[in-house]
Subunit: 344 residues, 2 copies
């Protein structure tokens, strides 16, 4: 597989991105990485990290600009169209590689995926769907794209795409799909939830288990939680905030005085495991699905080892043939157009 | 103050409710409690708990029925109108007491508050607003009422009522109000958020600090987080789930083998404090505001000490003159009707 990597996305670019790329290539053998970004800056950083030799073997799509976290999502199409993200996305769209990965601005990456790589015919909206930690293992939250005009058939499509990803990339045989809602009964929630519940129930492409209350998600509510992009974005950020604040408090306890520090040393290994198990980075990031090529969002704060894990996932994601499987799944369902007609 | 207490609401009724009532009366002196529920069962439970003497001094509104967690919210008006909750709410509405408190079915309590106690003139919807733990202290989330048709002026009214409660009952002088949203900029979110942002910005009754991302809420995002009842209900349940799962994991670490148990003993006091600081029960429950009399929802799982705390809060809530203050606040703002006109 050939993956184009945005060398200038994320908090630790380009150094940690480059190191991650080198590690991923070393680990896989067959993986080919093409870097997008300012060539001179890439080579300077590579030299500073003592990985110049490995980086020199990679093709570089030389481009002058960078999209920052402060840039508007639409900038990827306009004032920042010579950025590493835009150039990388265009190259993937043109068939130069099998997938694109970036740790940069999520909004810009979603817009760029939709407008440059373009949606699969019949897909109403790409889904930004992070894999998140739960009590024992992980689940996927689809969608967190912060969109504000979700329709029921979009939720069905999110569920369908997430099911393919969880099966093909994450190895969950028959992933259970739950609809995030304020109660478990079929009639709960607003019109969007009630209609989505019906569509999900009737779909042969997803293993729908009904409404799931958010209280159960961190335990074993479902393998995939489907929701609209506004609610999902709120949920993602609250999840991060609550887990973060609690871990900070625990850290406070375990560093409060000599006695506590001794106790902390005694549980060090287990606490480290716990910390790892609730760390988003462990699950590498979030696929953006529904476009004609796989796009993967690496965590913005990713260091080299996370970048490496993310690139291995992107490799598996590209190998899964997800675009073809989404197309097949769409064909086996009622067409998106037909669903939309019904809604009217 | 005279408070009517639903003796049969919650997981631990009637025993823990009765014990909590007795403790609250003992602690305050001036507090008078009237119990609603089956008199024979109340007295049997009181004897079993060895508090018969204290309970005998309380007036009892004898009624045969109980609303369970499985009952539909509307049952409080129909098939369960002789339940302890319905009878208690009617007695408060008729002026027999200053406030009502129940640990029972939240949905039924909200419906009953709206339909039996009735809303203050001009209030579009009562708000169910729990006080929740954050990193250091607490914040109020308004609304979590699971409603699905929020309008911008409802969010403004939630903010206004929550501000009065936080100031008068919780002692926060100039409570900061944040709007839960997917980004901090004024233009973020759906139409409801954008319109609510405008109303909140223009209001003299609230100290609006702008949009708050849920990531910041468990830290110090704001004293009051305003949102619609659907999103708020999702947030409340996710908050509980994430905090619960993480505390369970920590418990797992601290009981994993002899060495860890020794370490756990060393940090016992501090961990207990931590547990207390993230425990909802510490903040006693949730006021339901906007009705002509104060109604307070005690946590469903409350034991005697939490019931006692909740009743002391209900006492303060009743003493705060909140109904008058809400009425004044409504008058000083544009009238709710005028706001609604603008929306059209």
């Amino acid at each position: 597989m050939r993956i184009i990597v945005d060398a200038f996305g994320g908090d630790n670019a380009p150094e940690e991105i480059l190191k991650g790329c080198v590690e991923a290539v070393a680990e896989t053998g067959g993986l080919e990485i093409i870097l997008a970004g300012n060539k001179a800056k890439i080579m300077t950083a590579a030299k500073a990290c003592e990985i110049a030799e490995a980086v020199e073997k990679m093709e570089i799509l030389d481009c002058p600009d960078v999209i920052t976290m402060e840039d508007e999502p639409m900038s990827v199409l306009k004032e920042k169209k010579e950025s590493s993200m835009a150039v990388g996305l265009r190259a993937v769209a043109e068939g130069k590689a099998d997938a694109f990965a970036s740790a940069g601005n999520s909004g810009a990456l979603t817009v760029g995926t939709t407008m440059i790589v373009k949606r699969i015919r019949g897909i109403k909206r790409v889904t930004f769907a992070p894999v998140m930690p739960k009590y024992d293992g992980f689940f996927m939250l689809a969608d967190v794209g912060a969109n504000v005009d979700a329709r029921p058939n979009m939720l069905l499509q999110f569920a369908m795409m997430a099911s393919i990803y969880m099966r093909e990339v994450m190895g969950i045989e028959n992933p259970r799909v739950g609809l995030a809602n304020i109660g478990t009964e079929a009639h709960k929630g607003d019109e969007l939830r009630i209609e989505a519940y019906k569509l999900l129930s009737e779909s042969a492409a997803v293993n729908f288990i009904g409404n799931v209350e958010p209280r159960d998600m961190p335990y074993d509510g479902a393998d995939i939680i489907v929701t609209d992009g506004f609610t999902g974005n709120i949920m993602l950020k609250l999840f991060e905030g609550v887990a973060g604040a609690l871990m900070d408090k625990i850290k406070g306890v375990l560093t409060n005085g000599v006695k506590n520090k001794i106790a902390a040393a005694m549980v060090y290994g287990d606490m480290k495991k716990l910390k790892k198990s609730v760390d988003y980075n462990e699950y590498g990031g979030a696929p953006i699905m529904g476009a004609t090529k796989p796009v993967f969002k690496i965590h913005g704060s990713a260091k080299a080892s996370t970048v490496k894990s993310a690139l291995l996932l992107t490799d598996a994601y590209a190998k899964s043939g997800i675009t073809e499987k989404i197309t097949e799944s769409l064909a086996s369902e009622k067409s998106a157009e037909a669903l939309e007609e019904e809604e009217k």
